[in-house]
């Protein structure tokens, strides 16, 4: 499968000359299976360009939302396939004990926040609550589990032909876990990410910034490295960059953190447009 990053920014789009290297669009990742199956992980602002780039041969698209914070759904209304008949679009998201996924998405996709309602989308997307556990989309096996982030938030593990990737875009495994990463049984996301070939993980903060944001649901670059090491990931792609971090900051901080951690795996700061074969 091929994994392509269309948006790597967290919290808020960050357009500007200082962020062109890693990109300013919020979370969106395309996973294309060997059989042509297309999964889209999150619908941040990066999904607009993905929608324009999808070929006409893609007749089914499955959008898997990790959660419904704005930076993960803001691009949904600008995803062109939703306005096209002849495409089969499925949108998956976490359930809550109260409102349905349709009702919650409808709070954004309705006036006054957006002029088009979910029911008016020409593709008539099918909305699904994600059941925790495994399910299939084409030849891709998807495993979902709740992870540590405010509100119901899902991490995904996607596997095909013996290879796997994990997507933990918004994740704070260090919350209340003073022993991270020494207790796998008590570490959020551990099973999802265990032994994956490619791990996309939240790395919003520096260690110093994390101390000021404990409980906000995100990790530092150092914590992402420690988590990746604990789960035995083959490669780590840092993700969900803070909107205040420019290219120079991400380059310098990632380099310093990697030199300190001396990981045995590759560490790549996630950049918009980067693509990985898994």
């Amino acid at each position: 499968m091929r994994v392509t990053l269309w948006g790597t920014r967290g919290s808020l789009p960050a357009a500007g000359p200082e962020t062109v290297g890693y990109g300013g669009n919020t979370a969106c990742v395309e996973v294309r299976g060997d059989d042509g199956s297309v999964l889209v992980l999150d619908a941040g602002t990066g999904i607009r360009r993905l929608g324009d780039a999808l070929g006409a041969d893609v007749t089914r698209i499955d959008v898997l939302l990790s959660h419904l914070h704005m930076d993960h759904i803001q691009g949904l209304g600008f995803f062109e396939p939703l306005y096209e008949t002849g495409r089969e679009v499925h949108i998956w998201g976490p359930a809550t004990s109260e409102d349905s996924l349709r009702e919650r998405l409808g709070r954004y996709l309705s006036p006054p926040l957006f002029p088009v309602r979910v029911r008016d989308l020409e593709s008539h997307p099918e909305l699904h609550h994600v059941e925790m556990g495994a399910f299939r989309v084409g030849d891709l096996e998807v495993r979902a589990d709740l992870v540590c982030h405010p509100g119901p938030t899902i991490g995904y593990r996607i596997s095909q032909n013996g290879h796997s990737m994990a997507y933990l875009s918004d994740h704070e495994p260090a919350l209340g876990n003073g022993t991270l990463p020494k207790e796998p049984e008590w570490t959020s996301g551990f099973d999802l990410a265990s032994g994956v070939d490619l791990l996309l993980h939240d790395a919003q903060y520096s260690d110093a910034e994390y101390v000021e944001h404990i409980g906000w649901g995100h990790s530092s670059v150092e914590q992402a490295l420690a988590f990746a090491k604990a789960v035995g990931a083959g490669r780590l792609v840092t993700f969900h960059h803070d909107p205040t971090h420019d290219d120079a900051w991400i380059d310098a901080y990632t380099k310093r953190a990697v030199e300190a951690a001396e990981p045995s795996f590759d560490v790549i700061a996630g950049a918009e447009g980067a693509s990985f074969e898994v």
């Binding site: 359930a95 004990s97 059941e131 209340g176 003073g178 959020s188 099973d191």
Partner: protein
Amino acid sequence: MAQREIELILLRATARALAIPIWLMGLDGRLLYYNEAAERILGKRFDEVGDVLGEELATLFQATAPDGSAISAEELPINIALQKQRPAHLPMRICGMDGVWRRIEVTSFPVEGAGGRHLGAVAIFWEVETT
């Protein structure tokens, strides 16, 4: 060992941060954790006890009604929360692993996770007086 559900992970993190005694039990009747405040009443550090199953719990402490009469395992609030999935409260006396009898009050509630999954039970207790 498989990773625990996120709701239990967060509950344990909360218990670790609080100064009120908390006991966390898994769905399979396994003791998952008790915090430092509970260690004082139970008379032994959790790390020395580990995660033990229900029948072994009887070796950790003795429990009676406040008047000293016997109470069954089924009457214990943690077991009611676990098995009947409803909150329960009970005044009782316990003798912890330090051999000291204490009068405590216990409130338990079931842990219902996202989607209504029954994941275990929590007991919050506090000492009323030492006898």
